[in-house]
């Protein structure tokens, strides 16, 4: 008797399963559509939740106002205090503030109105200015902040004064670069970056008004959203100088004469303090309260928003949980049903000598095809719907913000879960059919 080759059924079964799925394309299409119909809304729901929360969180975390800690009343903070606070891990930025009374300046653009604005001390790393300063053309190392490393008009600063002996009215101060808030720039008659304008600080000594006029170079104007009040961001030295000047002392930086400032360390009335993340704010607040520094923060609002997010998240997971359970159940049931319809074909395959595992593979291959096609279709629907949603909300979203989006990892999880459940359901159903004797499946119809 001639020797017979060993059957190779697993390779054949893939081709057979796909041929069957193609032949019964209407049934396959129904399964694919059913899968996509349940998966697509889930993806949109998840995309919305992720996109909105992401945007909300980014806004919360990205808005310096939520990171700010404002002292209440005047205090007395020395250099040692600032050096210590700078080292706290929760602190992103801290800078001294002089007394509020000494921190104002009149701005005057040639031909424009005089505007009284608040002087705010700033330094490299200021979260309010961070994203709005012009980049210098020099290059910096990958972990270096070019605004700090590179020289030039990159940050509010005081440079060595230009002493021009031929100028009849020589500037009484050094060259100062500043940043203006949008409202200050507007009220001063439309100041733009690179404008050079005049700043006037005044004092009255023994009933005599003494004004100092300085020249400031505007290196940037903040957008409206970054800072709402009328303000000019200046180097701390200018505030120090103004404070001394207002106190009636001689101030070489402003070219002002007067009594010599007494020796001794300068004490500041306040500070500008920013935490690294919104989660640091409650901790920072508690730390400052512990050393008897009364502060106000937006921690309460942030906490409220975060708890709203948590509650919305719970609702979302409830809905998504029901949806996902329903999706997986319907997927499993329809694939189970598909196997039941194939009982006779599967029985004949086994009668022809296909092993049990090959007959299990038959529905599994089909389920995999359905899962991949259905998931791809759902992704397509999601892409369209997400596009519509995002363009609809484009007006209320900032650049780079999206109302509805998924990360590649979400897509992978969605496809993976779909595939695993599809394969599990069809393998279970196929396994049940494979366990009975081939003759039984054959005779049932």
């Amino acid at each position: 008797m001639n020797r017979k080759p060993v059957p190779r059924d697993l390779g054949r079964i893939v081709a057979l399963a796909l041929a069957d799925a193609r032949h019964e394309w209407r049934a396959t299409l129904c399964l694919v559509l059913a899968l996509a119909a349940v998966l697509a809304p889930l993806l949109v729901l998840f995309g919305l939740r992720f996109g909105v929360v992401q945007t909300l969180t980014e806004r919360l975390a990205g808005d310096p106002r939520n990171l700010e800690i404002v002292p209440i009343g005047a205090g007395r903070f020395d250099k040692a205090w600032f050096d210590a606070v700078k080292q706290w891990p929760e602190v992103a930025f801290v800078i001294p503030r002089t007394r509020a009374i000494a921190a104002s300046m009149d701005l005057l653009k040639p031909g424009g109105p005089i505007v009284n604005v608040e002087m705010i001390p700033t330094a490299p790393g200021d979260p309010v200015l961070k994203d709005h300063l012009p980049y210098p053309s020099c290059t910096a190392g990958p972990d270096e902040d070019p605004r700090i490393v590179c020289a030039g008009e990159v940050h509010p600063r005081m440079q060595a004064g230009r002493s021009d002996p031929t100028d009849l009215a020589p500037a009484r101060a050094r060259d100062i670069s500043v940043v203006l808030s949008a409202s200050a720039a507007r009220k001063a008659g439309g100041v733009a970056a690179r404008d050079v304008i005049a700043g006037v600080v005044g004092r009255s000594v023994d009933g005599r008004q003494d004004n100092v006029r300085i020249t400031v170079r505007v290196i940037a104007v903040l957008p409206e959203a970054a800072y709402i009040r009328d303000a000019v961001f200046v180097p701390l030295e200018l505030l120090d100088a103004t404070e001394s000047f207002r106190d009636g002392f001689a101030e070489p930086a402003l070219g002002a004469e007067g009594n010599t400032r007494p020796e001794g360390e300068r004490l500041y009335a306040g500070f500008r303090l920013y935490g690294r993340t919104i989660y640091d704010i409650p901790r920072l607040r508690d730390r400052l309260l512990a050393e008897k520094t009364e502060v106000s923060t937006r921690a309460a609002e942030v906490e409220q928003l975060m708890s709203l997010d948590r509650n919305l998240g719970l609702l979302f997971w409830l809905i998504a949980g029901i949806g996902t359970a329903g999706f997986l159940l319907s997927l499993g049931v329809s694939l189970w049903g598909a196997v039941e319809r194939k009982r006779r074909d599967l029985a004949i395959l086994r009668l022809l000598g296909f092993r049990s595992r090959a007959t299990v593979a038959f529905p599994v291959v089909q389920a995999a095809a359905v899962a991949v096609l259905g998931a791809a279709l759902a992704m397509g629907v999601f892409a369209i719907v997400a596009g519509v949603i995002n363009s609809h909300f484009a007006g209320s979203l900032g650049v780079g913000e999206t109302a509805c989006r998924l990360l590649p990892v979400h897509v992978a999880i969605a496809i993976g879960t779909t595939l695993i459940c599809a394969l599990a359901a069809s393998a279970l159903a196929g396994g049940r059919v494979a366990r009975i004797d081939p003759s039984e499946g054959l005779r049932e119809v």
Binding site: D9, D20, R350, G353
Partner: protein
């Protein structure tokens, strides 16, 4: 493995089926089928012909079996032992290599062309595409239908395709379960004749189940028939069907 000389050797086989209020018992005390032998399996509907056929096709597990051997490459395969050991893969291999099956109706795959249906047992064994399928189709009169799907064929044509598929891989035995039950008498004659002729041509044994005593009589084949005993017990009706060769 032992060599008994015959293709199939069955001793002391039983298989029972349960239905509400009734029990059906199949018994085979002694049955041998020689290589290339063509045998008719006769008996009324419900006498257990299909059950016997499924047992021989290695598609149904016997409840008990003293001896059940199937001649294979390396000697007689111990089918009874394979069932006992749940060696369903080994049984599948034996089916793929040794058995051709013509079901009552078609049993063709709707998603494959006629050619691919006939070719499937060959593809399963990685046999070369050497014109066997075309030759079989030619002999069975379905050569024109090779590219079509089974759904477009008449019932008679489908049975011819099923016969071609049962023979394509050169099996040792072809099992035909009432292959003409659903065709008209004239077609039935043609299909039966083709089945006999082709199994003879391919040297395969044939076990042809039929309830049509007259048709089998005409063929002049050796016959296997059941001796049916009905018994009323407290559990209900017991039908005991004992198959043996008619002398």
């Amino acid at each position: 493995m032992e060599d008994t000389g015959s293709l199939l050797s069955l001793r002391g086989i039983t298989k029972q089926r349960l239905a509400p209020g009734a029990r059906f018992e199949l018994h085979i005390d002694e049955l041998d089928i020689a290589a290339g032998e063509r045998v008719a399996l006769v008996g009324e509907s419900g006498s257990g012909k299909s059950t016997l056929l499924d047992l021989v096709a290695l598609a149904s597990r016997p409840d008990s079996a003293d001896t059940f051997t199937f001649q294979a490459d390396t000697g007689a395969a111990d089918v009874a032992g394979l069932w006992r050991d749940d060696a369903s893969d080994a049984l599948a291999v034996l089916r793929a290599q040794r058995v051709g099956y013509v079901p009552q109706t078609g049993g063709l795959f709707a998603f494959l062309s006629v050619f691919d249906n006939i070719d499937l047992p060959r593809r399963l064994l990685s046999l070369p595409n050497d014109g066997t399928v075309e030759r079989l189709a030619e002999r069975l009169g379905v050569a024109d239908q090779l590219r079509k799907k089974p759904a477009t064929l008449s019932v008679g044509q489908r049975q011819r395709v099923a016969i071609a598929r049962a023979l394509a891989h050169g099996p040792s035995i072809v099992l035909a379960d009432e292959p003409t039950a659903s065709v008209d008498p004239a077609t039935a004659d043609i299909v039966t004749d083709l089945l006999l002729e082709q199994t003879k041509e391919h040297g395969a044994a044939l076990l042809l189940a039929s309830h049509d005593w007259a048709r089998v009589e005409r063929l002049g084949l050796p016959r296997i028939a059941p001796d049916i005993a009905r018994e009323r017990t407290s559990e209900g009706v017991v039908v005991r069907s004992t198959f043996a060769r008619l002398s």
